[in-house]
Amino acid sequence: MKKKLFFFIFIFFLSFIVVFSFILYKNSQKSKITINVYNWGEYISDGSNGALNVNEEFTKRTGIYVNYSTFQSNESLFAKIQNGGAKYDVIIPSDYMISKMIKMDMLKKLDFEKIPNYSHIDESFRSLEYDPTNEYSVPYTWGLVGIFYNKKLVDEEEKNINWNILWNKKYSGKILMFDNPRDAFAISQIRIGISLNSSKKSEWLKAANDLKQQKPLVQAYVMDQIFDKMSNGEAALAPYYNGDAATLLERNKDIGFVIPKEGTNKFVDAMCIPKNAEHPVEALAYINFMCDPKIAAENIKYIGYSSPESAAKSQLDPKVANNKICYPDDQVLKNAQVFTALPDELNAFIDSLWVNIKTGEEGNPFALIAVLIGFILLYLIVFLLKKKKNKTV
């Protein structure tokens, strides 16, 4: 009887798998070519709330499928590519990461003849410092860093909000902070007046000490989770990108957004093709498709970041296109600094500073050695005791 039962479960189990996977296979059947696109989280129009599903539209037009996945920070994108194996066809890193990848020969030169829509990209976004020869990247969006605040929880007036508020003890436990080194350091660097691309270790150390002082006030180091935490009223203050302002302000009426006048960081995210891409031709088609002003406009409408294409901008609702948050005055732009790539050695130094900020005080190596020796001693003691006991028995 028991054998029969097992047999029954087994058969049930197998048929369940077969039927289920067949249904799913039908649902997800793919053509021969699938390109892997690796983008930031919440950074594409995905068809929710009636918006155009950009990736599906691409498949509809070209028959090429898109395997879309997302990353949290430039550094983790770099790690995933550097770690080999993962072969993406289109990646969308930010400025400084692009120049680092160009230097390390990780990107393919683009064939601009295959990207006729490149002509729509504004002149001011061509040949920027991260890609001076304009061979490796096509701008996707750009933006600035500002501060989100919950009007119910923050009593300062909007005009008085600047980077210093993130160090204000009054908001202890209500502040969120970037979970990536460059963005987090930038805030402190602007606050104490150091260049974002400083080459002096001492200046980075100074910023690191500043961030360490801030740590007790910080509720959590997060990236896209700020959407959730800010709109639920979990946190009062969070620095993040201006492109997300539209979404957040709409979700919770109490949230405001300020770009501090003292200065901020301006970034450009651009589409690139890694050296080891498997479908570079299809990847070019994807890039070209994304530059189509109509698609770009649909995409921008959903994600809320600023577009490098005037043609796309002109298709937006004038309310959005003239929005000071996404397309701020020259006054603000003038004070904005752009990241550039830093030397490897300095990057490693910054990484260790960053881990130290997050883990608290630098630990004493002897503590670890002591723990290890303690464990071994404990093992020996228990071992000897047992031997003794066995002998007496």
Partner: protein, 261 residues
């Protein structure tokens, strides 16, 4: 009888602790609004949305393919290995069993990192084993194998060896003897090993996270959902998973109780 009452209270508290998070997940999967802790009305829209979400459907497909292939592969290799292990001398047996235990006792993240280094190394040097669904299957098979061996070996040790020899003496070919005599006896061990392998593989996040390359399985998709703007679709997934598992276990248990009676 006072102790009985205390037992009951303690047990109810324990179950409350174990089930309250799941209850929260399930209740809010039927919530009208996007909020995850304010109730605003009943709706099934997150389920509809889930079933039209190609990314998630594809992730479910990947998960099932990997789990099915890895558990079958692990069961076959593990079962055959058990036959051999039993005949080895004491020293080699001990050595193999210690190696078998490594993936079980090793922290998952270390296993994942090690496999990732292996795949990257082999890809960079020999251009084979590019991280993807294939490496995912390989690594899942690796961490399932020990469990299959541990559940088949005891069953194999219990069976009477002479039956096999008797079958051969009576003119049965070795392979036929195996299928007719040994296999039915160790079937419960094989089945439970395979079910265990399947569920372990379905549920694994850490090792897949390090070895999947660009492929997304359901746990990986869930992980990227928890990092982003969290949508109640995630609650809908958990509710469905819970219902499926609950029904399966209920069916199995019901059958068993009937047999006992």
């Amino acid at each position: 009888m006072k102790s009985k009452l205390i037992y009951k209270i303690y047990m109810s508290l324990a179950f409350f602790f174990l089930y309250s998070p799941l209850l929260v997940l399930i209740i809010f999967s039927f919530n009208e609004s996007k909020s995850r802790n304010v109730w605003s009305g009943f709706s099934l829209k997150w389920y509809l949305k889930l079933f039209s979400d190609k990314e998630i459907l594809h992730a479910i497909f990947n998960t099932i393919v990997v789990a099915a292939v890895a558990s079958i592969l692990a069961t076959i290799i593990g079962t055959i290995a058990c036959l051999g292990i039993l005949k080895l001398n004491k020293f080699s047996k001990k050595l193999i069993m210690s190696i078998n235990n490594i993936p079980i006792v090793n922290p998952e993240s270390v296993t994942g990192v090690g496999l990732m280094l292996l795949f990257v190394f082999s890809y960079n040097n020999f251009k084979i084993l590019r991280p993807g669904i294939f490496t995912l299957i390989l690594s899942h098979t690796t961490f399932c194998l020990p469990y299959v061996v541990l559940s088949v070996l005891p069953k194999l040790r219990q069976i009477n060896q002479y039956i096999y020899e008797a079958a051969q003496d009576l003119g049965c070919a070795p392979f036929k003897a195996f299928f007719k005599v040994i296999l039915p006896d160790i079937m419960p061990g094989i089945a439970s090993g395979m079910v265990m392998a399947f569920t372990l593989s379905m549920d694994d996040f850490v090792i897949s996270y390090f070895t999947s390359g660009t492929v997304q399985t359901l746990p990986i998709a869930i992980y990227s959902m928890t990092r982003k703007v969290v949508s109640p679709e995630i609650n809908a997934i958990s509710t469905i998973l819970f219902a499926v598992v609950f029904l399966l276990l209920l069916a199995a248990n019901f059958k068993q109780v009937k047999i006992y009676k």
